[in-house]
């Protein structure tokens, strides 16, 4: 039995905002199936009572004084933008036609 179906891969691609072709979906379905089957080995470790580690070091929150400091100018912040209008990022429409 496969760990992941082609439909599930298509769903993951939508969630990941990746417009994949049909060929790509076929290809990734096969590969992800093999990878997921392999990484499922983590289940072999008995770890019910073990706390999870999200991080290697026991760090707590780090704070700094809330002071105004120099930051990027609008020109710098917009310097890599694909499209700019009136000192702002120009983006495609974000609402549907009916909105």
């Amino acid at each position: 039995m496969s760990a992941i179906t082609r439909d599930e891969v298509a769903h993951l691609a939508r969630l990941s905002r990746l417009a994949l072709t049909d060929d790509e979906l076929d290809h990734y379905a096969t590969q992800l199936d093999a990878i997921i089957e392999s990484v499922a080995k983590v289940a072999e470790v008995a770890a019910e009572d073990v706390p999870p580690s999200s991080h290697a070091l026991p760090l707590t929150n780090v704070f700094r004084a809330d002071e105004v400091r120099q930051s990027l100018t609008p020109e710098q912040a917009l310097s890599g933008a694909p499209a700019v209008e009136d000192d702002r990022f120009r983006v495609p429409r974000i609402l549907g036609e009916e909105a």
């Binding site: 993951l12 983590v42 290697a56």
Partner: protein
């Protein structure tokens, strides 16, 4: 001896003594790059003028009596995943083609402050995801030992540049082995510092809980000098450790391991390991014993699940980190013809801008984090991470450092594993545990495999903030082996 064959320490001393200028040293390396780059392809961006300009500025600073560190005027190749305000920064991805960051990474600004001269930006697997540098959107880098083979990855441009004498030093980042494995397969030294020992600010993020900047060099002392130049606490990185940098340069100079306790990890070896790699490794262990170390076998049974845990944790973090490439604020934008929505433009851009390995990992991470699968995959992987850290901790109660081969095989041929992700992932089998636990680890050359005459690396692992132990043991091994070989391992490499 020509300038390109000198060590970084020697070059720094010559420049400080006024015997040669930083400009002369930079030009010697730029000439070497012009000569061998058509074969190696280690660099994604080179700008002779900007480099010579930097060197001239360092000469002026030294001339004005400014006291810079021991590497002032020494050239360096910089991995193209660190932000540089004066050079493009692409992470070897089409999605960032030509992007110029508005600021320098902390590592970059520390290199500049120490007077290092940046020769250019080096090739890598796209967003540092890979073990061969074949996942670069700008073509593979070739191994100077054999141009048909990979230079390791993800920092393969950085390892190849140093091994090809294009630069005496380079920077890398290590998330699952991306410094140590390339160092191993190109016959040079590569160090992954303790996680949090070097700053991630301005480093394009792959897996934030694992990413660690570190040095490449042709010898242990040079690596230590570079380590010291850019490491240490950075208020701009909230996971940076607020403690002094371990005394790595002193340790590299001492190179004395008498009385040290060294553990051989029982689980690393056997099936899947190339015989020539194991032979050189076992000789290195005997050498450590002959130098006065006490060698014992140590068992870390859960290390066999480090690889699967890593391939859940790293893709999960990457799927979240790479969400920032949304075609809105910087980088590529595709399909914005006035009829498409932002979401459609985003999906088209990401499909066009990311390569296959990046897409695979984003989808794998999205899967591992999705409700219904989270506990079985990401949650369980985090628990395995705890178990592995505990096994390291127990091992370090018995010994001062652990040793293993750096990677199970020598450099494999370009193309061999390109479309077999699981085979590719095995290259990081021995390096991944140290990323999960955050401890320090180095790879130093320990000989050539009999089957193919290619370099083998010895990995030395030490506890968190025990970076100096890696250098101490690494320097002792280097000294003993180089006297046996009558020179460096790299001097045996074929001429380019």
């Amino acid at each position: 001896m020509s300038l390109i064959h000198k060590t970084a320490a020697e070059l720094g001393a010559l420049i400080a003594g006024g015997e040669v200028t930083a400009v002369e040293v930079a030009e010697a390396h730029l000439d070497r790059m012009a000569e061998v780059e058509p074969k190696i392809n280690a660099f994604l961006h080179v700008d002779r003028e900007t480099t010579v300009e930097q060197a001239r500025a360092v000469d002026a600073r030294l001339g004005a009596g400014e006291r810079l560190g021991p590497l002032a005027g020494v050239p360096i190749a910089h991995k193209d995943i660190f932000a540089t305000a004066d050079m493009p920064t692409t992470a070897a991805s089409k999605i960032l083609e030509g992007w110029r960051p508005p600021y320098d990474a902390t590592v970059t600004s520390r290199l500049r402050a120490a007077g290092l001269v940046i020769l250019g930006k080096t090739n890598l697997d796209e967003f540092a995801m890979g073990s061969s540098t074949e996942n670069s959107a700008y073509g593979p880098t070739r191994n100077p030992w054999d141009l048909s083979r990979i230079p390791g990855g993800s920092s393969g441009g950085s390892s190849a540049a140093v091994a090809a004498y294009e630069a005496p030093l380079s920077t890398g980042t290590d998330t699952g082995g991306s410094i140590r494995q390339p160092a191993s397969v190109t016959g040079i030294v590569g160090m992954k510092p303790t996680y949090g020992g070097s700053s991630r600010y301005g480093l394009i993020a792959f897996a934030s809980s694992l990413d660690t900047p570190g040095p490449f060099a042709r010898n242990v002392l040079d690596a230590a000098l570079l380590h010291e130049a850019f490491s240490g606490h950075d208020p701009m990185d909230s996971t940076s450790i607020d403690a002094p940098v371990p005394s790595v340069v002193e340790a590299a100079r001492q190179a004395d391991i008498s009385g040290m306790r060294i553990g051989v990890v029982k689980e690393f070896g056997g099936d899947g390991y190339q015989p020539g790699v194991l032979a050189r490794f076992h000789e290195a262990v005997e050498l450590l014993e002959s130098l006065g170390a006490k060698v014992v076998e140590v068992s870390c049974p859960s290390f066999s699940t480090a690889l699967p845990a890593y391939y859940l944790i790293a893709p999960s973090e990457c799927s979240s980190n790479l969400a920032r490439f949304d075609a809105m604020r910087y980088g590529l934008r595709v399909g914005d013809d006035g009829t498409r929505s932002a979401e459609e433009v985003m999906a088209l851009t990401r499909a066009a801008g990311f390569g296959p390995e990046v897409k695979r990992r984003i989808m794998l991470g999205t899967y591992a984090l999705s409700s219904g699968y989270y506990d079985a995959y990401y949650g369980q992987a985090q628990k395995v991470r705890t178990v592995i850290s505990r096994e390291f901790e127990a091992a370090y109660h018995q010994v001062d450092v652990l040793v293993s081969p750096t990677t199970p095989t020598t450099a494999f041929p370009i193309g061999e594993r390109a479309d077999d992700p699981m085979a590719m992932y095995l290259a990081d089998l021995c390096t991944i545990p140290s990323n999960l636990s955050g401890n320090a680890a180095i790879s130093v050359p320990c000989g050539l495999a009999d089957e193919d005459g290619l370099p083998v690396g010895l990995q030395i692992m030490a506890p968190v903030l025990g970076d100096d132990r890696c250098y101490r043991v690494g320097a002792a091994v280097e000294q003993a082996l180089e006297s046996r070989w009558g020179g460096s391992l790299l001097s045996k490499a074929p001429a380019l």
